[in-house]
């Protein structure tokens, strides 16, 4: 067991600090600061180029998704089925994980268990060192980002190269990813050309043309694929009954990573297990259509234990030349599991459909969420994984418009979880002045609204307040928090002629009607 993990478990089940690596906030060693969605997004939303890039990409992908989903007549049944499979598995997680472990072991692989990010990173580093390699190639993986693997390997003298094109762009640019599926969604082709020319390609050698850019990346990566002896992957699904791992991808880089190097290490969250191969069929129908808007993704690699060496058969001559290790990561997931409402979030298959339809994400981009997991899923996952204190105001990063729930292939009720997390947040803010101020105001409003007599008085006075205060507040309200948020861009409503209840009581409803 690592030193870090044994010392970070706080009292009363508080969040171990090592679990907060997924935040992209200020950090000192293992300590991370809280997120500030409001201030970050207010800054990001002024980046018009970013907004244009993201709006263009999400609009395209949204339309594609809509089209291919409409082709599946039993789409809603599939969603229901997927949700049931996930709920069933999560309720019996221990059983299926142990079954998975037995079957991986039987097939010549080795299963490691990691309680948190620090443990997972150390196990991975140890495995790379055992292989004697000083560099690794990587299949795109959210969970390795969640545990901050690349930086950790680099600190320990191991160079990790991302082989997914968009992930490579981010790595070369020193960017943080801003989308689960399309990490470089905030960049356009010209920017990408410039990034390549500033790093591995010669200045002036590239056109800002997608096929040319992809070709340059392919050449750059080819040598890495052939030379590397260790690949690190995540995993989309773990099949308990066979001990198989499934990876779904579009570029073939995953297939190369999984077949060329002698050693494959997978790091996968424990919630990714499903019971059977038949269940996998449901998810393989839902995932590509939901995420890239394709009927089928170009590459699906499913392997059990030691992966086959299809691309280089000569490497299979002796069995022991190929090793397979899988690290199963908890990192807060079992704690999330104990929350009846919030645990739905663990059903997520990382398709990112919710990001692509979210009107907030479309305007502020992924970086505003200051987490590896952006968008609506990030707003419900991050607070649960790192705890309310560090997650700041993430649960408020939504208008609750419900577009995310409507497209979620596993029917996660994201608005419901956001509301649930908001209550937890307001409870935790009792020790801050602004928190208590808000709580006090809502308390008073709650008392007034909870009492018909008080409400009668209040409702009559609203028209007076608007009549005598409205025009003034429209002018000076921008200096008065919290009303400034409204009047900076909007007028207050015009004063009505008294309340509806007063008119109803007096029999003067007709006076209210438009002439």
């Amino acid at each position: 067991m690592s030193k870090t993990s044994s010392t970070v478990h706080g009292p009363n089940g508080s969040i171990p600090k090592a679990n907060t690596w997924l935040l992209r906030t200020e950090h000192h060693g293992e300590e991370r600061g809280r997120t500030y969605f409001k201030s970050r997004s207010t800054r990001e939303i002024r980046n018009l180029q970013m907004r244009k890039n993201i709006s263009h990409a999400t609009t395209t992908i949204r339309e594609k998704r809509k089209k291919v989903v409409s082709e599946v007549p039993n789409w809603e049944d599939l969603r229901t089925r997927a949700s049931q499979i996930k709920q069933h598995t999560l309720a019996n997680l221990d059983v299926y994980l142990e079954e998975f472990e037995r079957n991986v072991t039987k097939a010549g692989g080795k299963v490691h268990w990691a309680r948190d990010a620090a443990e997972a990173r150390e196990i991975a580093l140890e495995l790379v060192r055992e292989s004697g390699a000083s560099s690794v190639i990587k299949v795109k993986s959210m969970v390795t980002e969640e545990i901050g693997l690349n930086a950790y390997l680099s600190e320990n003298g191991i160079e990790a190269t991302e082989t997914d094109l968009a992930e490579l762009i981010c790595q070369l640019a020193g960017d943080e990813s801003s989308h689960i599926l399309v990490p470089a969604i905030h960049r356009n082709r010209v920017e990408i050309r410039d990034i390549f020319e500033a790093t591995f390609a010669q200045k002036g050698s590239l056109e800002a043309d997608p096929p040319k850019i992809a070709e340059a990346a392919r050449k750059h990566l080819r040598e890495k694929f052939l030379r590397s002896t260790v690949a690190i992957s995540g995993g989309n699904f773990l099949v308990a009954e066979t001990g198989s791992v499934a990876i779904v991808e579009s570029e073939g880089n995953g297939r190369m990573c999984l077949t060329l190097p002698n050693n494959v290490i997978s790091i996968v969250g424990i919630e990714k297990v499903i019971p059977t191969m038949e269940d996998l069929e449901v998810f393989l129908t839902l995932l590509p259509r939901s995420s890239t808007g394709e009927r089928m993704n170009p590459y699906t690699t499913i392997w059990t234990g030691r992966p086959p060496a299809q691309m280089a058969p000569e490497k299979e001559t002796t069995e022991d030349r190929k090793s397979y290790n899988i690290i199963l990561l908890d990192n807060g997931r079992t704690r999330v599991l104990s929350d009846e409402v919030g645990s739905q979030a663990l059903a997520c298959i990382r398709c990112s459909a919710c990001l692509n339809v979210c009107p907030v994400y479309e305007r502020v981009g992924g970086h505003s969420y200051e987490s590896v997991y952006p968008g609506p899923i990030g707003a419900i996952l991050t607070p649960q994984l790192v705890g309310d204190e560090l997650a700041g105001d993430l649960a408020f990063a939504s208008t609750l418009c419900g577009a995310c729930y409507e497209v979620c292939p596993v029917k996660i009720n994201i608005p419901e979880i956001l509301i649930h997390l908001r209550s937890i947040h307001s409870d935790h803010r009792r020790d801050t002045m602004s928190g208590n101020l808000e709580r006090g105001s809502f308390g008073i409003v709650g008392i007034v609204m909870g009492n018909t007599n008080l409400f009668n008085i209040a409702s009559s006075s609203v028209s007076l307040i608007l009549k005598y205060g409205g025009p003034l507040l429209n002018r000076v309200g921008k200096y008065l928090p919290p009303i400034n948020g409204w009047v900076e861009s909007r007028n207050l409503p015009k004063a009505p002629n008294g309340s509806l209840r007063d008119a109803y009581r007096k029999g003067t409803l007709d006076d209210l009607l438009k002439k």
């Binding site: 997004s41 305007r363 939504s398 808000e438 609204m449 909007r490 109803y504």
Partner: protein, 250 residues
């Protein structure tokens, strides 16, 4: 059939004209409608802002205000969504059901599905664009019911609003907590509204309309904003023929 109106606290206090229009319209259609004055607020704002236990108390009070009614007709889609879709989670499915959360209908559901209205005698000779609120679309799944009612009017020109399924940016306290994002969403929504060339912007939700009309007034644009119940009421006000021509129960 005992029918009550649930105008919502926003309509009651800020947009009473929409509530008055809905009541008069229903009366004209032969419906004896009450406005139970014990009702205050459904608790949506408290729930959405993170004050669940206060919201629960308001929800209980709200349901009990309508104990004696068969139907409760809402004219605010987010409030009807709160009662029908969120009360079961907030109060427990059984409590919500016993309390009658299922008898809460939106005006257009009542007119089309319960009363079975197929025609309305009335004229509204204006270009109108309809903003589909998120809750009408994804909360209570109203579909195009309000538009179907509007299109029964003579002379009305309903112009489809581009990107009609995207949120107007209101989101209750979101409009204040994340005002920069809310503003951008509101302005983009309004750009589409202006693009239609409509003279009247309408919706089935006064909270969206409060957001959008606030933006229209701040931008000093000339565009009337009305709840669709007001359009139906004003258009049918001088109708001579008996309006009600339906197959529904009475």
């Amino acid at each position: 059939m005992k029918v009550a109106i649930f105008p919502s606290c926003i309509v009651d206090t800020i947009f009473p004209e929409a509530g008055a229009a809905a009541i008069r319209l229903l009366e004209r259609l032969g419906v004896d409608v009450d406005f139970p004055l014990e009702q205050t607020c459904c608790g949506q704002m408290h729930l959405n802002t993170g004050y669940e236990s206060r919201a629960r108390k308001l929800a209980q009070k709200h349901l009990s205000s309508f104990n004696q009614y068969d139907w409760v007709i809402g004219i605010s889609t987010s409030c009807t969504t709160m009662v029908r879709e969120f009360y079961p989670q907030l109060l427990g499915a059984t409590t919500a059901e016993v309390g009658g959360s299922g008898k809460f209908l939106e005006l257009s559901e009542f007119l089309l599905d319960v009363l079975g209205i197929t025609e309305l005698e009335g004229t509204f000779a204006k270009k109108v664009t309809f903003h589909t609120s998120c809750h009408s679309l994804r909360g209570i799944h109203l579909g195009d019911r309000p538009q179907r009612l509007l299109s029964m009017l003579e002379g009305i020109e309903l112009i489809p609003l581009p990107k009609s399924d995207s949120c107007c940016g209101f989101g209750g306290t979101f409009s204040i907590k994340n005002s920069a994002i809310s503003t951008v969403m509101m302005e983009e929504k309004l750009a589409n509204v202006y693009w239609t060339g409509a003279e009247v912007l309408t919706a089935a939700d006064s909270s969206c309309l409060m957001n959008l009309s606030g933006g229209i007034q701040a931008a000093k644009k000339q565009l009337a904003v009305m709840h669709y119940a007001e359009i139906l009421e004003v258009a049918t006000r001088h109708s001579q023929k008996k309006l009600l021509n339906h197959s529904g129960e009475k």
